[in-house]
Amino acid sequence: MTDLLLQISAVILAVSIFIAVYRVAKGPSMPDRVIALDNIGINLISLVAVVSLILETTAFLEVMLLLGILAFIGTVAFSKFIEKGVVIERKRD
């Protein structure tokens, strides 16, 4: 029963990733794509968690944490890039 539920949720997550990928490919504007990418990141975290459960291992907990950090940093960096044109600003002196 649990196995079936886990597999169903993995499929749902995968479908949502597909939808987000479509948005990345299609997305009329740049922010659309960035949001979709962020969405993919979060979905990936969930997917890794589900897969960890299916594989019955705790080895991928770091992966989930890391994905969370990267998704955040990545989204912030993209946003700054879209907003200001640069990611790291030069020091003013």
Partner: protein, 801 residues
């Protein structure tokens, strides 16, 4: 062991080192005087070997050079080697003496001249006294090199450089071919020693490599000795200073090929091919050289072609002399005489041609020109030079009582005798030999007469000369006087050479004929009786005189040949054509476009791998694969979709983000294939790479930022498809044919028991295979330092650093 003989051979090289010091430190004394001592001492030293060689003994001294390869510096003195050594040192001595007066101390770079000349002398001694083929080849190339340097002595002149390059290209081509022949000889006999090869000569005549070895070695000999059609470098080498022409291009270097033919006669001469090729090329060269010499208007040009022709004559006699080997003994062996004649003429040619070159140099030096159209009437002004010219030229033309007459008679004898030789078609086609020889001798007579009478008789034309002509200083005349004295001495008393020099040299060329304690019978004399040779000589003189007197009427025959068919033209076209074709060829594929180079690399990759895969029957598929789970299928679908998006997208940004998605998907693959460390690393690295791509994207120049569709190219598509297929095929084959059990079973146990870690990947990285990790850290360090340098270090704005 290093002996006095070795030191004698390399003495000129050692002396050459000191020449520049003497030139700088003692500028008051002409450097040539110091140099003169070297050949003089060596000449006396080699004279001491005359009693040894004339009593049929040889001297061999071995000094190990590369013993593991069978290469020893073996000095071997026998009759032939000694004859050449005496020529080299003797004429060398006279040439150095002549050059002291010929080259000005103030105006010329004497240090260069004498260094090159001594280098050449040592190399030449090495060629004729080496018993080891590789050592011989080494010295052979040094003669080419030093000859190149000497021809271009006046390197500021265009024609000197042209002549030097031409002679270098032709002689080095021959030299390389000779090396190939030497290696083939080694392959057949297992030794580089000439004496040992001669000893096993009988065993190799039916070997497959026998004919190729003979041809390649003969190519080397023919190019060096300026045989048709490789003679074209010699006339252009006349841009060298006259002492060089006298020494290298008449007496010594051009005879290196003759030496090689004579030296290897015992190895090859039993075959009919050798006889026909050597004698045939010799006789053609004889005719062509003498025929072309008549056309020349430059004194040294005439002498160059005459050298070509006389060398052909010597070579043809050596070829004919090979007939002697087909008889077991010396009794009634007519053909031995040809070899005698070859050696005798070799000596004679060195004497009269050396003196004639020096004569031409004197005329040039005292009148400012060598053009016979501007010269004339010098007989009364330069009586001694005139005498030298008369003796030298008449000897060259083959007139009595000079030594040229004797060798020409012997030459005719050899050519007539060969027609009765009963093998290799000599008795049918051989009749051409005396006919061509006779016609060539007529031309020899004509140009010899031109040399004397056009230069020294007739009316003097002082208005055409830059300086007022006068007799040369005595020092300059000394060397040619000594040489023409030798012409006369050898003419009247030829037998002083017979058993001292000629007979031992013949013993080296025809060793198989001599039994124990026997020697060749050499007796050279003027009067043969009323023989066919005498009538031939009379015919040469009669017809030659008539033709010389009517020269003006038939000289137009030379214009009949189209200039586009001359050998020089063909050579020039070939050199230019090779350059053009190779630059076109290089330009055709070296397009500087990385796209093209990648195309070559990938195409080669595909062709080579697919060929090997199917040619070696290495392709295999077996069904033993793990079951495919649904997750893998889904991820693979994501992967393929994103890859297609990256390929076909219009925008670069989309491509970059697509790449990011690809990377993250791969990280997911790592997750489901249970590789947490890889997944972690992959995620971070992918994020950083995407950021870097974005950085690059942002800095694209405005002008080409216009977003376009990827252009579709069928070629690229096919190649990329082929690469993908190839890699897939190889992957499948490799997976299906595992030869050994994996060593992975070792690590799970060992990583805890031996290394004390539970994370197997990390234990492998830092413990079992820590060395790779160390170097990968180094790679990252280099990359970081490289990026820093590229950003900071701009040569244009160095101060910003």
């Amino acid at each position: 062991m290093l002996t006095a003989l070795h030191i004698a051979i390399v003495a000129p090289f050692i002396a050459a080192v000191f020449v520049p010091f003497l030139y700088k430190k003692l500028p008051k004394i002409h450097t040539g005087w110091f140099v003169l001592t070297i050949p003089a001492i060596l000449f006396v030293y080699f004279l001491q070997y005359l009693p040894v060689t004339s009593s049929k003994q040889t001297v061999t001294a071995v000094w190990d050079w590369i013993p593991s390869l069978g290469i020893h510096f073996t000095a071997h003195v026998d009759g032939l080697g000694l004859l050449f050594a005496l020529l080299i040192t003797g004429i060398g001595m006279l040439v150095v003496l002549y050059s002291i007066y010929y080259l000005s101390k103030e105006r010329e770079a004497l240090n260069n001249f004498y260094t090159f000349l001594l280098m050449f002398m040592g190399a030449m001694l090495g060629v004729v006294l080496s018993d080891n083929l590789i050592v011989l080849y080494t010295f052979w190339e040094i003669t080419s090199l030093s000859s190149f340097l000497l021809i271009s002595y006046w390197y500021e002149r265009e024609k000197s450089r042209y002549g030097a390059l031409k002679s270098m290209l032709i002689t080095v081509m021959g030299g390389f071919s000779m090396l190939v022949g030497f290696v083939m000889l080694y392959a057949m006999t297992g030794t580089f020693s000439i004496q040992e090869i001669i000893a096993s000569a009988g065993d190799i005549t039916s070997h497959d490599l026998f004919i190729p070895a003979m041809l390649t070695i003969l190519l080397g000999a023919f190019t060096k000795s300026a045989q048709f059609p490789f003679h074209i470098w010699l006339p252009d080498a006349m841009e060298a200073p006259t002492p060089v022409s006298a020494y290298l291009h008449s007496a010594t270097m051009v005879k290196a090929g003759i030496y090689l033919v004579a030296r290897l006669s015992p190895v090859f001469a039993f075959s009919g091919e050798w006889m026909w090729i050597v004698a045939g090329f010799g006789i053609v060269t004889l005719f062509w050289g003498s025929f072309s010499a008549v056309q020349q208007t430059d004194l040294k040009g005439i002498l160059a072609f005459s050298t070509v022709s006389q060398l052909g004559m010597i070579l043809s006699m050596l070829g004919v002399g090979a007939a002697a080997i087909h008889f077991d003994s010396m009794d009634d062996n007519l053909y031995i005489g040809a070899t005698t004649a070859a050696i005798f003429h070799l000596i004679n040619h060195a004497t009269f041609k050396g003196s004639l070159f020096m004569m031409a140099g004197i005329v040039d030096h005292e009148t400012g020109t060598r053009d016979i159209r501007r010269l004339g009437g010098l007989m009364t002004v330069m009586p001694i030079t005139f005498t030298i010219a008369v003796i030298g030229s008449f000897s060259m033309a083959g007139l009595p009582p000079f030594n040229g007459f004797l060798s020409k008679e012997m030459f005719f004898t050899a050519m007539v005798d060969i027609t009765s030789f009963q093998a290799f078609n000599m008795d049918s086609f051989g009749v051409l030999f005396p006919v061509v020889a006779w016609v060539a001798s007529i031309f020899t007579f004509i140009y010899s007469m031109m040399l004397v009478f056009k230069t020294f008789t007739g009316k003097m034309q002082p208005e055409k000369l830059d300086v007022k002509p006068h007799e040369a200083p005595f020092g300059m005349l000394l060397s040619p006087i000594i040489l023409v004295s030798l012409v006369i001495v050898f003419g009247f008393f030829p037998n002083i050479l017979a058993y001292t020099v000629i007979e031992p040299a013949m013993a080296s060329i025809l060793p198989s004929l001599l039994g124990e304690g026997e020697q060749f019978y050499v007796d050279i004399y003027f009067w043969h009786g009323w023989t066919i040779e005498l009538y031939m000589t009379m015919g040469v003189i009669g017809i030659g005189t008539l033709l010389y007197l009517s020269l003006r009427k038939w000289v137009a025959v030379y214009d009949v040949f189209p200039s586009s068919l001359t050998l020089n033209h063909i050579y020039d076209q070939t050199v230019a054509g090779v350059e053009k074709v190779s630059s076109q060829l290089t330009g055709a594929y070296m397009t500087s476009s990385i796209r093209h180079y990648l195309l070559y690399i990938f195409s080669f990759f595909v062709v080579a791998l697919v060929f090997v895969l199917f040619n070696k029957d290495a392709f295999s598929v077996d069904g033993a694969t793990a079951p495919i789970s649904v997750y893998e299928g889904v991820l693979a679908a994501v992967l393929v979709t994103t890859a297609l998006v990256v390929m076909f997208t219009r925008s670069r940004l989309k491509a970059i983000i697509g790449l990011g998605v690809l990377g993250y998907t791969i990280a997911l693959f790592f997750v489901i294939f249970r590789a947490p460390d890889l997944a972690l690393t992959q995620l971070i690295i992918e994020t950083v790479s995407v950021a870097l791509f974005l950085l690059c994207f942002y800095h694209l120049p405005q002008i080409s930022r216009k977003l376009e569709n990827m252009r579709f190219r069928a070629g690229n598509f096919i190649v990329s498809l082929a690469v993908g297929l190839t890699v897939t095929l190889i992957g499948i084959s490799a997976n299906s044919s595992r030869l050994f059990e994996s060593i992975a079973g070792f690590f799970p146990e060992a990583s805890y028991d031996e290394a004390g870690g539970k994370n197997m990947v990390n234990v492998i990285l830092v413990d079992f295979r820590g060395f790779d990790t160390l170097l990968e850290i180094l790679v990252l360090a280099i990359a970081a330092a490289g990026i820093f340098t590229m950003i900071k270090l701009r040569l244009a704005g160095r101060n910003d650093l």
